[in-house]
Symmetry: C2
Subunit: 228 residues, 2 copies
């Protein structure tokens, strides 16, 4: 599904060059469920943004569904993102002046889903996440965990081929966190959705098949998840 070759990402602040990712090589096949773990600042969110074409590497190649993304202009990357990817952001990034309903509708508008189908998918996801009562509220009127749930729901509602989830359960209680991981697992096992999650939870990482351990911007080691 996607392949990163010798990816580098640095930031230039005046004279100071900070390498955030270096010599990163990764391959994720369609239908895989992979976790990325590592200390704060090790480059996990940066790596996920590059995979999601929301950021560009400063060096290296990124192949997505056989296409050379590193050669594309922003317009083409945005098209691919809207068509194939559902992204759960670490800080949610809901649109403040859209209601919950409108935030959930946005990915469906990009995919040109017809009106009746949009209504039914939004109703379905509001119901499954138990947030029907919140549909006309704005993000600032929701609790932290509710905002996170809307962020997850928004990433799934367009039925993407690839889900990129950055700490999707950080603000949730264990029962709700478990619910989210079971939804991911079901999408992966039954619908063949490829999932790459950043997590600092060992429990969450066990839902996947493989773990990439990042440290200081490099993939320090890979671990296979042993199922009991």
């Amino acid at each position: 599904m996607l392949e990163l070759k010798n990816i580098e990402r640095f930031y230039q602040n005046g004279a100071l060059k900070t390498y955030v990712l270096r010599y990163v090589n990764a391959h994720v096949a369609e239908g895989e469920f992979v976790s990325i773990m590592g200390p704060s600042g090790s480059g996990k969110s940066t790596l996920l943004h590059i995979m999601g074409m929301l950021d560009e590497a400063t060096e290296g190649e990124y192949w997505f569904l056989g296409e050379a993304v590193h050669k594309f202009k922003e317009r083409r990357r945005t098209e691919l993102y809207q068509q194939y990817i559902g992204f759960v952001f670490q800080a949610y990034h809901l649109i403040d002046d859209l209601t919950v309903y409108e935030n959930l509708e946005t990915p469906l508008l990009y995919k040109k889903v017809p009106s009746a189908e949009r209504k039914s998918r939004i109703a379905d996801v509001l119901d499954r996440f138990n947030i029907v009562a919140k549909k006309d509220l704005f993000p600032s009127q929701l609790s932290g965990g509710q905002q996170q749930l809307v962020g997850v729901a928004r990433a799934l509602i367009g039925r993407p081929k690839l889900i990129l989830a950055d700490e999707p359960t950080g603000n949730l209680q264990s029962p709700q966190a478990k619910e989210i991981m079971e939804i991911f697992q079901k999408l992966n096992e039954e619908d063949g959705v490829t999932i790459i999650q950043v997590t600092h939870s060992e429990a969450n990482a066990r839902y996947g098949q493989r773990i990439l351990h990042l440290s200081d911007g490099r993939v320090e080691r890979e671990e296979l998840v042993k199922k009991q």
Copy 2:
């Protein structure tokens, strides 16, 4: 230290009245370390904001260090907040156009701490949290966990009498989360700082002495933490 009597908080959206807190009674003595737990949307952040005088109850009394806060104007509440309280926000709320250094300096300016003392306290906390290299960056240039650490550091740097922490370790790896909880424990046991934390982590709750379990805006039950 603080006492809440029959606290109620509702929101009015048009004709709809949503009760977020109801019949809440709570007493926290100076030097206590209390945790607040409960499902998403149960009112934990709302309760913490009322305790921190950042929000007002719609009914009931709030006594803080023997003073009737529910009778005060905003100016007096802000004074008390700046003088006695360090607040760790669930969504960090760092000031985007101030650097890390300036964000950390802000509480010290409110407390009229002299310049040399400010410099030394900021240097000390940057060092302890291992973020010296980030001091001149802006919050948007930090990782999620780094922003959370700066939020915690900013709450502690003014040496408050009362720390109110809303999910202070949600975006941190276990070793760093443990470090934060040990800092809290030390401040509580050695300096008598009163600590009230909202957490969904059982492990974090064990650092305190008592747990208030919230459900649908009420204190459903209290639990004493049994030390081994």
